[in-house]
């Protein structure tokens, strides 16, 4: 089992944002995680990434605690945020950082980016935040895919992509090996339905629906 969450709770300023959430993610699960704003989707993902300390319950990724064993956990997870952060490093510095921390050959990222028509060599000395929205998103996707993680988490990944970019992105996703898992936080199920085999719906911090498609 990739992820095992048992009755996890998290409260912010007296408001319960995760309320006894229990769910498992297995290898090969392609999940669409949905719910209205404030439903707890981002909090759940951040807890998985080790950013939040849960108040109670048990949470593990491949048997590791995301907070206490964050390095071990993050070796197996790739994350693409909804909005590309304004990282001030140059593209070259960023991919070298990722290469060193993730034991990854930076050339792999360059190769993956090329599949989405993003030429990294041309922009390598530019600061990341100076790229266009679409280019930033493509680079983040290339980084996530090249790491070959067991679980890929996408938070509204196509928000900045034009129709062609979206098409290329979905094509790349269809090439992800079957044994890997993906988790999409999305409001647009219709767009990724073909890429998912499970739908989880959250509301007010609870998992209210969890079904295989």
């Amino acid at each position: 089992m990739l992820v095992d969450a048992q009755h996890i709770n998290k409260t912010f300023l007296g408001s319960k944002v995760l309320d006894a959430v229990t769910l498992q993610i297995d290898s090969g699960d392609r999940i669409a995680l949905m719910g209205s704003n404030g439903a707890g989707k981002t909090t759940l993902v951040r807890a998985l990434l080790g950013f939040y300390h849960i108040d109670s319950g048990d949470l593990s990724v491949l048997g590791h605690d995301p907070v206490k064993e964050r390095v071990e956990v993050l070796k197996h997870i790739s994350f693409i945020p909804q909005l590309p952060p304004p990282v001030r490093l140059s593209i070259e510095e960023l991919i070298n950082f990722i290469g060193k921390t993730s034991d990854l050959d930076p050339r792999q990222i360059i190769k993956e980016a090329a599949k989405m028509d993003l030429d990294i060599a041309e922009h390598k000395s530019k600061p990341f935040y100076k790229l266009s929205g679409g280019m930033k998103q493509k680079l983040l996707i290339a980084i996530a895919l090249s790491r070959q993680s067991d679980l890929l988490i996408f938070d509204e990944p196509t928000a900045n992509l034009d129709p062609k970019g979206r098409e290329q992105f979905y094509q790349l996703l269809s090439l992800i090996p079957e044994e890997r898992s993906t988790l999409f936080i999305t409001h647009r199920l219709d767009e990724i339905k073909a890429l998912t085999n499970r739908m989880i719906y959250m509301d007010l911090g609870k998992v209210v629906e969890d079904e295989k498609i």
């Binding site: 939040y52 390095v71 945020p81 952060p85 304004p86 510095e93």
Partner: protein, 275 residues
């Protein structure tokens, strides 16, 4: 260790490109240039002249602006990274919090300390060019004192950035701490003494705990062993401790305090939610 050095290296690269670093370097380098243009080194004030006079003024100005520069730039960039989700992304890779925190601190230390040191060396070079003798003892002591003062305020900035999550709060706290510490240098302490409402031992304790006052006493005692220029508290401390012990204290105390503050910051960073 590999990741710690990588984080430090990237922080240095990032800082070197940033506007705050350019302003910071220009302020300290510009100060030295200004001293020469205005002929400070040629003037005689209270018996000090030449290179000694210029370094004395440089240190006096540094006491005021170095702490607030370090606090603002560090707090702003670290809290800013959190608010703009840069921290979220960079920490989604397998890098330990220990490597990230101490790597950032190491990188930031290099970028806040080097411009001040270079300005000091620039001043010495100018002084030598004008025919002065190399004041080895003074350069060595000032380098050590600037090192420890920079380290202390960097530790404080890291603590404030981890405890206070919003940039505005952290900036506000930085100003309060800075003004408080400046308020309790000799002048304010003399005021307390004159009023006679506070015991002398409390005033001396406050002076010994205030790193800015400690830095000031340590730096000026080299010029003026009688410390006539900075007041009775400093005079009392010098008379009680002796010059060597006072200088060792002025170097060691800020480092120990800076280490404690940054360690506390690290514990908070590890124990609290990161975002």
């Amino acid at each position: 260790m590999k990741n710690l050095l990588q984080v430090a290296y990237l922080d240095i690269r990032e800082s070197l490109r940033s506007k705050w670093f350019i302003v910071y370097t220009l302020v300290f380098g510009g100060l030295m240039a200004l001293f020469f243009i205005t002929g400070v080194s040629d003037s005689v004030v209270m018996g000090f002249t030449g290179l000694s006079r210029m370094l004395l003024i440089f240190i006096q100005v540094t006491i005021i602006i170095l702490p607030i520069f370090i606090l603002i730039t560090t707090v702003k960039s670290i809290s800013g990274d959190r608010e703009s989700n840069v921290l979220e992304y960079m920490l989604s890779f397998p890098v330990s919090l220990k490597d990230y925190y101490w790597g950032k601190m190491l990188g930031r230390f290099v970028t806040v300390f080097l411009p001040v040191l270079l300005a000091l060396l620039l001043g010495v070079a100018f002084g030598l060019f004008k025919g002065g003798a190399m004041p080895w003892k003074m350069v060595f002591l000032y380098t050590a004192l600037l090192f420890s003062l920079s380290f202390l305020f960097l530790g404080l900035a890291f603590l404030l950035s981890t405890v206070l999550k919003s940039t505005d709060m952290a900036l506000g706290a930085s100003f309060v701490v800075w003004i408080l510490l400046l308020g309790f240098i000799d002048i304010a302490l003399m005021g307390l003494m004159l009023q006679g409402r506070v015991s002398d031992s409390l005033i001396v304790t406050i002076a010994m705990l205030n790193p800015i006052e400690v830095f000031r006493i340590g730096a000026i005692s080299l010029f003026d062993p009688e410390l006539t220029v900075i007041g009775p508290v400093a005079y009392y401390l010098l008379d009680t401790l002796g010059q060597t012990a006072l200088m060792v204290y002025a170097f060691v105390y800020p480092i120990v305090l800076g280490l404690l503050l940054s360690l506390l910051g690290y514990i908070v960073f590890k124990k609290k939610d990161l975002l």
